[in-house]
């Protein structure tokens, strides 16, 4: 069937029922033709399982992070509503009675994540506070009428959810008028009707709420038009006594926006309380912490890929959702591209899988650069067996995988310890966030870097209490792991701690000694003082005696340095690291952070980049005259300022093209040739128009306007 027509633009294709049944399962698409690997299905399953685990982990994290905020919010709602219910005759309460309780929720600029937060917020509120939760978006409410309409219909829907379909009959009359009056009367009937039911159900809230409040969530408050907001607030404040409304503003920027949007007369009708959600950067830290900086998930990301992902986050959108999407894509790509990624699962499972490896897969292992390096370092006899005997290879691989696992376990513990040490240093030589530290550690031997040296120097100057608190944190970190690989280290840290505590006693004695000495210095004249000071200096230099504390501090720093050198080796040093590390950072950038304009410009400006034909090869910024028509037209159009005369353009084009043709055919220009060239020019121009480089203009006859400025 054709998909081009002059009368319609949509073409629906429905295969026969029989045909439709044989749809291909997804895992079949997973088969990467370049790899010729037989276990694509297994890999897909592994991917799927791992992703599900990671996803549920992120969701759980999100929930935990939001919990605090939601608890506060629910408290606020309940409190403000119970105030309303008391209905006292107190003057102050009466004044307050006029104010709509409002929670201003500051969520940050990562608008894309807000939807999730609002979704879970709605759920929490519906479970804990009131069945009547409505959320509105600015797009749906261009004016008050639509605002009320949306509000009403959503409220009715809430009601339908709560009760059965009997309410449907109520639905019909409301279509005509939407007003606050009708809303409040509806509210009265509904609450009275549901009250007995609720008590029967013994809902926790029902005793408290004779009439549950109506919570209205305004997503992204900045985008609402001020007029609508103002009108709505004024109207609803008039009906507050019969329609208990509570507002929640979602704010992306800053709380000042409320006062900018609403004049004092309106904002004084609101009783606003601010709530701040967790900043997205902290959120990211937590996610990284739980997904990547742990041995729980076998999948790891190389330095470059991690940098791409964090850069997209930090410089483009601050969106956790997008970060997770990037993570998903890297996981997918890893499993798609790496045939050995089948081993990227939990250790026992991986060991089991190795046993069933085919010859092909074994060959794949041998081909891994890291494995080859490893083999080269073995004794020659072992080299031969590893390269020829499959069972030996499999055993060895199992061992290596276990080592890799242990390496990761230790790696993250030590990394955290190091981070504890460096994160309190002035100027943060190794970065403030653990992800920065992680990146540097992934890249190279961290102890070779200047920053590390300076960080150690700074550590050698720490005070005792700082050191102690750091050590305490470290011991916590080390103890948190269930595995026993770093037992000795943990013990050592504890020893250090006790030594520091013992120092207190020792230092007292020392102080006494100092005190006695200083006494001797009293009551001398200047000459003697100078003399004795010089003597003391001499004395210190010759003995160079460090205090116990200084020695201990030195020991701690050396110990740390030692730890780092042993455990924070870059992953490239580990055999089989390719199995778990995703390193194709460029694919991430290509697919997530594409640059279509650059691609377009390159294609037009330098066709050789795509069409590898030697005749197209040209110097920088130049173009050969046999390039595709669009490219030539584009080049010529770059010459012009804002308006381009089509005649001139076409003539220039014709000159170039005829010359190129002549080279080819040596024929004289016939009329037909000219026609064809003109047609080609027309096509090139209309293509440039489609691409958005030019547009027709009426400023001058037969001219087009250029839409780009400079060279793209």
């Amino acid at each position: 069937m054709a998909t081009s027509s002059v009368s319609k633009g949509c073409f629906v294709f429905k295969p026969d029922i029989k045909k439709r049944k044989i749809s291909v399962p997804i895992e079949d698409y997973f088969n990467n033709e370049n790899l010729e690997s037989e276990d694509s299905k297994l890999r897909f399953e592994t991917y799927h399982l791992l992703w599900q685990r990671m996803k549920s982990e992120t969701e759980q994290l999100q929930e935990e992070l939001n919990k605090n905020l939601f608890d506060n919010l629910v408290d606020f709602l309940q409190k403000s509503h119970s105030d309303f219910q008391k209905n006292s005759s107190n003057w102050g309460c009466q004044m307050k009675f006029r104010e709509i309780p409002t929670a201003a929720l500051i969520l940050g600029v990562n608008v894309t994540d807000h939807d999730l937060i609002f979704k879970s917020l709605t759920e929490t509120l519906q479970n804990n506070v009131t069945p009547y939760v409505v959320s509105l978006q600015a797009k749906d409410c261009p004016d008050v009428k639509h605002f009320l309409q949306k509000l009403t219909s959503q409220l009715m829907d809430c009601c339908v959810d709560g009760k059965s379909k009997e309410v449907k009959s109520v639905k019909t009359p409301k279509k005509t008028n939407y007003s606050m009056d009708s809303l409040s009367s509806w509210y009265m009937t509904v609450t009275q009707a549901t009250c007995p039911k609720m008590t029967i159900k013994k809902r926790t809230t029902s005793s408290q709420w004779q009439s549950p409040p109506v919570v209205l969530i305004l997503k992204n408050m900045e985008s609402f038009s001020t007029k609508v907001l103002q009108d709505f607030i004024i109207i609803s404040s008039q009906h507050l006594h019969e329609f208990p409304l509570i507002l929640i503003f979602g704010i992306a920027t800053s709380p000042v926006i409320i006062h900018r949007l609403l004049p004092h007369a309106v904002s004084s009708l609101l009783c606003i309380e601010l709530f701040q959600s967790l900043s997205c950067k902290e959120h990211l830290t937590v996610i990284l912490d739980k997904l990547l900086l742990t041995a729980q998930f076998p999948f790891k990301i190389s330095k470059k890929a991690l940098q791409v992902l964090t850069n997209i986050f930090l410089y483009h959108d601050f969106s956790i959702q997008n970060f997770i999407k990037g993570l998903k894509l890297s996981l997918l790509e890893h499993f798609y591209l790496q045939p050995l990624s089948v081993l990227c699962c939990d250790l026992p499972e991986a060991k089991k899988r190795i046993k069933f490896f085919s010859v092909n897969q074994c060959e794949n292992i041998r081909r891994l650069p890291s494995f080859r390096r490893y083999v080269e370092n073995q004794a020659s006899r072992k080299q031969v067996t590893l390269l020829t005997n499959e069972t030996v290879l499999k055993e060895e691989t199992q061992l290596l995988l276990e080592n890799l696992h242990v390496y990761h376990m230790n790696y993250f513990l030590v990394l955290r310890c190091l981070h504890n040490f460096t994160s309190c240093l002035p100027k943060y030589p190794l970065g403030r966030q653990i992800r920065e530290l992680y990146c540097t550690c992934l890249e190279k031997n961290i102890w070779d870097s200047e920053e590390y040296a300076s960080a150690l120097q700074l550590l050698r100057m720490l005070a005792k209490d700082e050191l102690m608190s750091i050590l305490e944190k470290c011991s916590e970190v080390l103890q948190s792991s269930t595995e026993k690989h770093l037992d000795s280290t943990t013990q050592k840290v504890k020893d250090f701690l006790t030594q520091f505590q013992n120092l207190d006693a020792d230092s007292k004695e020392e102080e006494d000694a100092c005190g006695s000495q200083s006494k001797g210095l009293q009551k001398t004249d200047l000459y003697h003082l100078q003399k004795s000071l010089l003597e003391m200096k001499e004395l210190r230099r010759t003995t160079k005696k460090q205090t116990k504390f200084e020695m201990l501090r030195e020991n701690v720093v050396n110990f740390l340095d030692n730890l780092v050198r042993v455990y924070l080796l870059p992953p490239e040093s580990q055999p089989l690291y390719e199995v778990v590390y995703f390193s194709a950072a460029h694919t991430l950038r290509e697919h997530l952070n594409a640059a279509p304009r650059v691609a377009l410009h390159t294609a037009l400006n330098n066709p050789y980049y795509y069409l590898k034909n030697e005749t197209l090869k040209s110097e920088e910024g130049c173009i050969s005259n046999i390039a595709p028509d669009v490219c030539i037209a584009y080049k010529l159009h770059l010459e012009c300022s804002r308006l381009i005369n089509l005649v001139d353009w076409s003539e220039a084009f014709a000159t170039v093209v005829t010359a190129a043709e002549k080279v080819d055919a040596n024929s004289t220009t016939s009329e037909e040739m000219n026609e064809i060239i003109h047609a080609r020019f027309i096509r090139a121009v209309s293509e440039l128009e489609l691409l958005g480089f030019i547009k027709p203009t009426k400023q001058k006859t037969d001219h087009v306007a250029r839409l780009t400025w400079g060279g793209c």
């Binding site: 073409f11 594409a594 377009l600 005649v647 027309i682 489609l690």
Partner: protein
């Protein structure tokens, strides 16, 4: 003025030097005393000057002079501001902002390009804005005497390294330029006007020019202000440059029009015929590119199924690629192909085809949003439903609106709706804010194909393609043939009335009552019921549109352009005779 000059002492100031001034220089040079006579000669000439600037040697001379000035003014600058080797060459091309000069330059460039296959066009896009800036500066024409000074000032430098092609031209007039330059001063403003008016009518230009000329003679020869420093601040603000380049509405280009070219406008069909005769080059390489892209098909399917949506970008039509994808991958599944480039496409029609053809729903919806909600619910309820959406040109005129994108984004965010789309426009990504982007959940794929946008541009109202209107015409004829003679008569009446009124801008249609009257008079109908019955038929064929006027009266209008209607009448009469 003084402050301005102060400012200009730092910033390069270049004034426009129009033809008249240039002429002046020349004639002056040839004999200062003969000025008046030359002026007379000038008055005779402008027509020629405007139309065929290069045909006579004398005028070639003028061109040379102009050239020289530009070279002087700009050459230096470019040498200053551009460090790369191609500065001189680039400059050569970049002066070409002037009207005729410009076309010449483009042509020249083309010629150079043409000379050898290996010959290359050095281009410096950076130099472009610079030039534009100068154009606008000239346009302002507020200062008087320093206009040409800088040019003289810089002659030396320019001569030291002139572009090869211009060397000859520069050498000729050097000696004169210095002494005469002041004359151009007060004149330039008029020139600008003249240049602008060129567009409208030559007559005006003539008078303008003569006026300008007459004023030249008594023009006060101002003392040359201190030589302007040509050094420009290289780090001049890019933003400033941009606005200066765009501050003036005047852009100078040549006045040639396509009409003067003997080549007639061709229509779509002819265009296609002609293009089919031309075999595209590099087909092997393009084929290779395509094969690379085709390898990705399976991966696309995988990623679509995993919740991503795919967007293709890059030069060249991606239609064939997507068609191939459809043919190889989607045969077993329900899919909708949407031609975004189709001028009649709308979100409404997309949603309609989903509800009617895919979901077999026959009801109607109050609004597009209702329809969207209904579809979304349907897909959420029934997870066994699967739908592939293939959208060619998601960034087309019709679909790029905020609302359309929002709706399509919401559809594509459903887990059982898979969207694969292509975008071509340079600024396509600007359609989506963060919220929409997260709805779409795009994976970007670069698929540069270099294939011509045949289908995509065929609907476009290109400047160079004649609006053939063959389609509406044939459909008109087709429909009307099936009608009764009376109905045809009625329709003809309406056409005639519309053609008679086509020039009046306030024409909104023929009111029903008037129409009825006319039909009665022509014995075409006997009651307004019969007329209404006929009209219903027309309306069903979308031949007429009815509109309620402000007074509540129904107005009838044929939504076809008047040329087609005229053609139609012509044909009808031919047949009748």
């Amino acid at each position: 003025m003084s402050t301005l000059q102060l400012k200009e002492s730092k910033v390069l100031n270049v004034q426009f030097v129009g033809d008249d001034n240039v002429l002046n220089h020349i004639f002056d040079r040839e004999g200062g005393t003969k000025l008046k006579k030359e002026k007379a000669q000038l008055l005779v000439n402008p027509q020629k000057i405007i139309k065929k600037p290069v045909c006579e040697s004398e005028k070639n001379d003028q061109e040379v002079l102009k050239d020289q000035n530009y070279v002087e003014v700009l050459g230096r600058n470019i040498q200053d501001s551009l460090k790369n080797g191609s500065a001189v060459d680039g400059g050569n091309k970049v002066y070409s902002f002037q009207q005729r000069k410009h076309s010449e330059e483009m042509a020249k460039l083309a010629l150079e390009l043409a000379k050898t296959a290996r010959k290359v066009v050095p281009l410096d896009s950076k130099a472009d804005p610079e030039t534009k800036k100068k154009v606008t500066r000239k346009g302002k024409g507020h200062s008087t005497s320093e206009k040409v000074q800088p040019e003289n000032n810089n002659k030396a430098e320019c001569l030291s390294a002139p572009p090869r092609s211009l060397r000859k031209r520069i050498i000729v007039p050097v000696s004169h330029c210095d002494s005469e330059s002041e004359y151009s001063a007060s004149n330039s403003e008029d020139d600008e006007e003249a240049a602008r008016d060129d567009e409208d009518a030559d007559v005006v230009v003539l008078s303008q020019k003569s006026r300008a000329q007459s004023r030249v003679l008594p023009a006060p020869v101002s003392k040359g202000t201190p030589l302007k420093k040509m050094k420009r601040d290289k780090a001049s603000d890019l933003v400033e440059e941009y606005f200066e380049a765009h501050s003036s509405s005047k852009v100078l280009t040549s006045d040639r029009t396509l009409q003067k070219l003997k080549r007639a406008k061709m229509d779509q069909k002819m265009l296609r015929n002609l293009l089919s005769k031309f075999s595209p080059s590099f087909s092997a390489e393009i084929e290779q590119l395509n094969q690379q892209h085709e390898k990705l098909f399976r991966k696309w399917m995988l990623q679509l199924h995993l919740g991503f949506n795919i967007v293709l970008y890059g030069l060249g039509s991606k239609r064939d690629l997507l068609e191939k994808f459809r043919a190889t991958m989607l045969q077993g599944s329900v899919h909708v192909v949407i031609n975004g480039f189709f001028p009649g496409i709308s979100v409404k029609s997309i949603l309609n085809s989903i509800t009617e053809d895919v979901l077999n729903h026959m009801g109607t919806f109050q609004s597009v949003l209702d329809q969207r909600d209904w579809i979304i619910n349907k897909f959420k309820e029934d997870s066994s439903l699967e739908l592939f959406l293939l959208i060619h040109n998601l960034d087309s005129q019709m679909l790029r609106g905020d609302n359309s994108q929002q709706i399509l984004g919401q559809l594509s965010s459903l887990h059982n709706v898979y969207l694969i789309a292509s975008v071509d426009h340079l600024h396509a990504p600007l359609m989506w804010d963060h919220a929409k982007q997260s709805l779409y959940n795009w994976l970007w794929y670069e698929t540069t194909t270099y294939s011509p946008y045949t289908e995509e541009t065929s609907y476009e109202n290109s400047l160079l393609v004649k609006q053939s209107g063959s389609l509406p015409l044939s459909s008109l004829i087709h429909v009307l043939r099936s009608l009764t003679p009376n109905a045809r008569g009625i329709f003809r009446l309406l056409i005639k009335f519309q053609l008679d009124n086509q020039d009046s801008p306030s024409y909104i249609g023929l009111s029903f009552q008037d129409f009825y009257q006319q039909c009665r008079e022509a014995f075409l109908v006997n009651s307004d019921l019969t007329l209404r019955a006929q009209l219903t038929e027309f309306r069903d064929h979308k031949l007429i549109k009815t509109k309620k006027g402000t007074d509540g009266v129904e107005y009838l209008l044929i939504p076809v352009d008047s040329r087609t209607l005229a053609d139609f009448l012509e044909k009808e009469e031919e047949e009748a005779s």
